[in-house]
Symmetry: C2
Subunit: 504 residues, 2 copies
C-alpha cells in the first residue's frame, strides 16, 4: 500500500476501534444489567447507556470520518484485499446511517419506546387493542424508514438489510414457502404416529447439578472459559466485548432439564463464533459476525444437529445418567433421544420443536412483510395471526398473550429480524451437511465426545472470515452452492422419521 493511503487507512482503523471500544462498554453495561445490577441501578444505567449510544452514533457519522471513508472507498484499488472489504462494508453501513437524519431517528426512537410501553401494558391486560394504535404509528415510521433507506423490489428489503445484509423478500419467499409447503404435511404426518414420551425431562433436576452440566457441555464444545464465562439471567444470551471475552448466560428451571440444556448448547454455538473471530481485525468489519442468520446458524448447528443427535448423546447420556440417576436410570438412550426430539404443536415460538419453529417464523414473516408493504392493517393483525396458526399449526391461540402479544420484537421495532431465525436453521443444515462430507468420521468422533474436528472446521470455514463475505457468498464458498431448504428438509425428514419410527 502507498504510504499516504496507508496512513489514511490506519486513521480509519483507529476510528473504528475507538467506536468498538465504546461499544464494548455499552455491551458490558447491557450484560451487567441482565446479570448483576441491583434493581435501583436501572434508572441511571438507562441514562448512561443512552449517553454512550448517542456518542457512538455521533462519532460514527462525524463528517471527517465520513469524508475519510469516502476517500478510501474511492481509492480502494490502492488498498489490499482485506482493507478494501473493510472499507466497502463501512461505506455501506455509513451510507445507510446517513440516510436517516437526527430528526427521523428521534421520531423513530419515540415511536419505539411508546410501542414497547404499549406492548407491556397490552400483555399485562391480555388485550391487543392496547398495543394496536402504538404499533400502527411504529409501522408507519418503519415504512418511512424503508422509503428513506431505499430498495429495488420491495420496501421490506430495506429493513431486512439491517439484520441480514444482502437478503431479499423474493429470495425469502422462495425459501420459506417451499419450506412451509413441506413442513405442514410432515408435522401432520408425525402427529398421526404413536407419540413419543418426554415426561422424564420434567422431573426435579437440582439447579446446582444443572449448572455443572451446562459448564461441562460448554467445555466439551470447546468454549474457552479463559476467554469467557457463564452467568445466570432471566433470558439466556451471548455477548462479546472482544473475541477474548465472550460471555454466555443461562436460565435454569429445576423442573425442566431441557430448558437449560439446549439453550446452553445454543448460546455456546453463538459464543464459539464470537471467540473465533480474528482478533487482528478487532473493531473492523472482518472482525465482526457476517449476519444474524449466520450467527444463528452456529447456535442451531450445535443445538440441533449436534446437541439433539444420537451421536452426541452416545457419549453424554451415560454421564447424564450418572449425574441424575434417580431421574434417568430407567430411561434408555433411545427413549431419551426420541424424547428430546418430540414434535408437537405449541402456541409459543420459544417453546417450539425444531420443525414447528419455522411455521411460527413464517407466520411472522408473512405478517410483517404485509404490514410494511401496506397490504395488511394493524387492526386485522390478531385475526390474521390466529387464522394462520389454525391453518399451519392446527391450533388456535385462545388469547392475545399466547398469540400475537408473545414476542417483544415488534414492540422493539425489529421488523426484519424474525426471518434470520429460520435462515439460521437452513444455513446450519447446509453447513453441517458439508461438514459431514468433509469429515466422514465426525459421527464417530462426536459419539466419543470429541468435538475438535468440528470446532476447527467451523473456525476455519466460517468464523475466521467475519464479515468478509455476505451470508449468501459465505454459503456458496463453504458449501459450493446457494442456500436452499432441501438440506434442512432432508435432515428433518430423516431425523424425525427415525424418531417416529416411520419407514419409507
Amino acid at each position: 500500500m502507498h504510504s499516504e493511503i496507508q496512513a489514511k487507512y490506519e486513521k480509519y482503523v483507529h476510528h473504528l476501534r475507538t467506536l468498538s471500544d465504546l461499544n464494548a462498554a455499552i455491551a458490558l453495561m447491557a450484560w451487567d444489567k441482565e446479570v448483576y445490577m441491583p434493581p435501583k441501578g436501572a434508572h441511571f444505567r438507562a441514562q448512561q447507556m443512552a449517553t454512550l449510544e448517542g456518542m457512538w452514533h455521533q462519532k460514527f457519522t462525524e463528517p471527517d470520518f465520513v469524508a475519510l471513508v469516502q476517500h478510501l472507498h474511492e481509492r480502494h484499488e490502492q488498498l489490499d484485499e482485506s482493507a478494501t472489504i473493510n472499507v466497502q462494508r463501512t461505506w455501506q453501513d455509513l451510507s445507510r446511517s446517513l440516510k436517516l437524519d437526527r430528526h427521523f431517528i428521534e421520531r423513530r426512537s419515540r415511536a419505539t419506546s411508546e410501542a414497547y410501553q404499549a406492548w407491556l401494558a397490552a400483555r399485562k391486560f391480555n388485550d391487543y387493542e392496547r398495543f394496536a394504535p402504538a404499533l400502527q404509528t411504529l409501522v408507519e415510521v418503519k415504512r418511512e424508514e424503508a422509503q428513506r433507506l431505499g430498495y429495488q423490489a420491495h420496501p421490506y428489503d430495506a429493513l431486512l438489510e439491517t439484520f441480514e445484509p444482502g437478503e431479499r423478500v423474493a429470495h425469502l419467499e422462495a425459501l420459506f414457502y417451499s419450506l412451509r409447503d413441506a413442513l405442514v404435511p410432515l408435522v401432520q404426518q408425525l402427529q398421526r404416529q404413536p407419540q413419543v414420551n418426554a415426561d422424564f425431562l420434567h422431573q426435579y433436576y437440582p439447579a446446582d447439578e444443572q449448572w455443572e452440566l451446562g459448564i461441562d457441555l460448554l467445555r466439551n464444545m470447546g468454549y474457552d472459559f479463559e476467554a469467557g464465562r457463564q452467568d445466570r439471567s432471566p433470558h439466556p444470551f451471548t455477548i462479546s466485548f472482544s473475541p477474548q471475552d465472550v460471555r454466555v448466560t443461562t436460565r435454569i428451571d429445576p423442573n425442566n432439564l431441557a430448558q437449560m440444556t439446549w439453550s446452553c448448547i445454543h448460546e455456546g454455538g453463538h459464543a464459539l463464533y464470537e471467540q473465533g473471530l480474528p482478533t487482528t481485525q478487532y473493531g473492523l468489519p472482518i472482525g465482526q459476525p457476517a449476519s444474524l442468520g449466520i450467527h444463528e446458524s452456529q447456535s442451531r448447528l450445535w443445538e440441533n444437529h449436534v446437541g439433539r443427535s444420537c451421536w452426541w448423546w452416545q457419549y453424554h447420556y451415560p454421564k447424564l445418567q450418572q449425574r441424575f440417576p434417580n431421574q434417568l436410570s430407567q430411561v434408555s438412550l433411545d427413549e431419551f433421544w426420541r424424547g428430546i426430539n418430540k414434535v408437537a404443536p405449541n402456541l409459543i415460538r420459544t417453546e417450539a420443536d425444531e420443525l414447528h419453529y419455522h411455521l411460527h417464523i413464517i407466520i411472522r414473516f408473512e405478517i410483517e412483510k404485509a404490514l410494511i408493504e401496506g397490504s395488511l392493517s394493524v387492526n386485522e393483525l390478531d385475526k390474521v395471526w390466529n387464522e394462520r396458526y389454525t391453518t399451519y399449526l392446527g391450533i388456535t391461540p385462545p388469547d392475545a398473550r399466547s398469540g400475537i402479544l408473545q414476542d417483544v420484537h415488534w414492540g422493539h421495532g425489529s421488523f426484519g429480524y424474525f426471518p434470520t431465525y429460520t435462515l439460521g436453521s437452513l444455513y446450519a443444515a447446509q453447513f453441517f451437511h458439508k461438514c459431514l462430507t468433509d469429515i466422514p468420521q465426525l459421527p464417530e468422533q462426536l459419539s466419543k465426545g470429541n468435538c475438535q474436528a468440528l470446532h476447527s472446521w467451523l473456525r476455519e470455514t466460517i468464523h475466521r472470515h467475519g464479515r468478509r463475505y455476505l451470508a449468501e457468498e459465505l454459503c456458496q464458498k463453504v458449501t459450493g452452492s446457494k442456500l436452499d431448504s432441501t438440506h434442512f428438509l432432508q435432515y428433518a425428514t430423516e431425523k424425525f422419521y427415525h424418531t417416529y419410527k416411520i419407514t419409507i
Copy 2:
C-alpha cells in the same frame, strides 16, 4: 435565575452528566476487571478503558465547555447557591487540568507506567535498586507537575490538592507531628502491659459462613442491597456507578476471621457515603464525595469507632458465637473485644492496628514531602525508611519487600494520597465525638443492633452535602471546630487503656 444564564447552566449540567455517564462505564469496566473478567479479556479491556478515559479527558477540557464554565463562573452572582458552588468547583478542577498540557500528561503517563513495571520487578526480586531509577524519573515529573500546578508555601501542597482539596503541608505537619509525638509513647506503654490474646481469630472459619456474616453486617449498617451488591475480589474496594448502584467487594481468608470482618465494615462505611450522595446532583460536584479524607472518615468511623466498639459486639457477638460455636464458644465477649483491639507493631501498613497505622502513614508523609521538596534523594530512600521504622515502631524491615516496596502508591505516582488515610481517622474521631454528643443514647442503640440514628446522622450532616464544602469547612460545620488530633488521641487513649486494663 435569569433565563439566559439558566439555559447556560443547564448546558453545563448536561455536559457534566455526559462525563459522569462515561465515568460510570469506565468504573463498571474497572469493577468487572477485578471481579468477573476472564483472564484473556485483559488485553482488550485495557485498551477499551484507555479509550474511554481519553474521551473523558478530551470532553472535559473541550474549549467550548471551558468557555461555558468560565462564563458561568464570572457571572456566578446570577446563579443560586448550589449552582454557584458547582460551577466554582468545576472551574477549579478545569483550571488545574488546563495547566497540564497533553505533552506533559503523556510524559507523566509514560513515567508512571515505567515506574509501575519497575516496582513490580523490584518486588519480585526483593530489590529496591530495580525501582530507584524509574522512581527518580517519576519524582522529577511530579516535582514538575507541582511547579506547573502552582502553590504558595510548599510544592507538595499542589499534589495534596488532587486528593484532599484545601489541605496544606503546614497544617498536616502540625496535625501529624502532634499525633506522632503522642502515639509513639502510647504504643510503647501498651507494649509494656500484659499482652492480649487474638489467636482465636486465626482458626478455620469456613468461607461460606464468613460470606453470610459479611452480608448480615452490611445489612445491619443500613447498606441498601437494592442499590448495591457485594462480590469477592483479590483486594476489597467500593465503587459507585450512581448513588443507586454502589458496590462493595470483600476478600475471605478461611483462616482469618478479622480480614473479611473489618474490611467488610470498612467498605460498608465507604458505600454508605456514596449511597447517601444526593441523586438530584448526579454528575455535579455536589453529587460527589468531598475528598478522600472525608471518604476515609466514613469507612474508619464504621470500622473502628463502631465495628471495634464493645457496644457493637454486645449485639453481634452472641450471634457470631452461634455462627461459629466451635471456634468461639470458649471466648468471652471481653476476651473477644480485647483481642480485636490488640496493639502490636507490624512491618506492613495494611496489617497494622489502629494506632501503629498512623506511624506507617507519617513515615510515608515525611518521605514524600521531602522527595517533592527535593531535600531527600531517591537513593537514600530505603535507608531513611528503615531508620524511621526503627525509631517510630521499634522494628526494622529485614528486606525491601516488607519495607519500602510494600505499597503500590509511589509506583502509581500517587504522591499526596497517603496522608488522606490518617486524615480519615482524625475526621472520624472528631465526627464520632460530635455524634455521641448529639445522640447520647447511641451506645445503647448500637448495643441493641440499631444503627438507624447513626446512619441518619451521617447522612444528614455529611453525606448529603457531597462536595458542597471543603473537608475543613465540613468539619467546622459538623463539629463546630477545626480538625485537630485531640479527639482521636482522647478516643485512642481511653479505648486502649481500657483494652490493656491501664488505670490512670
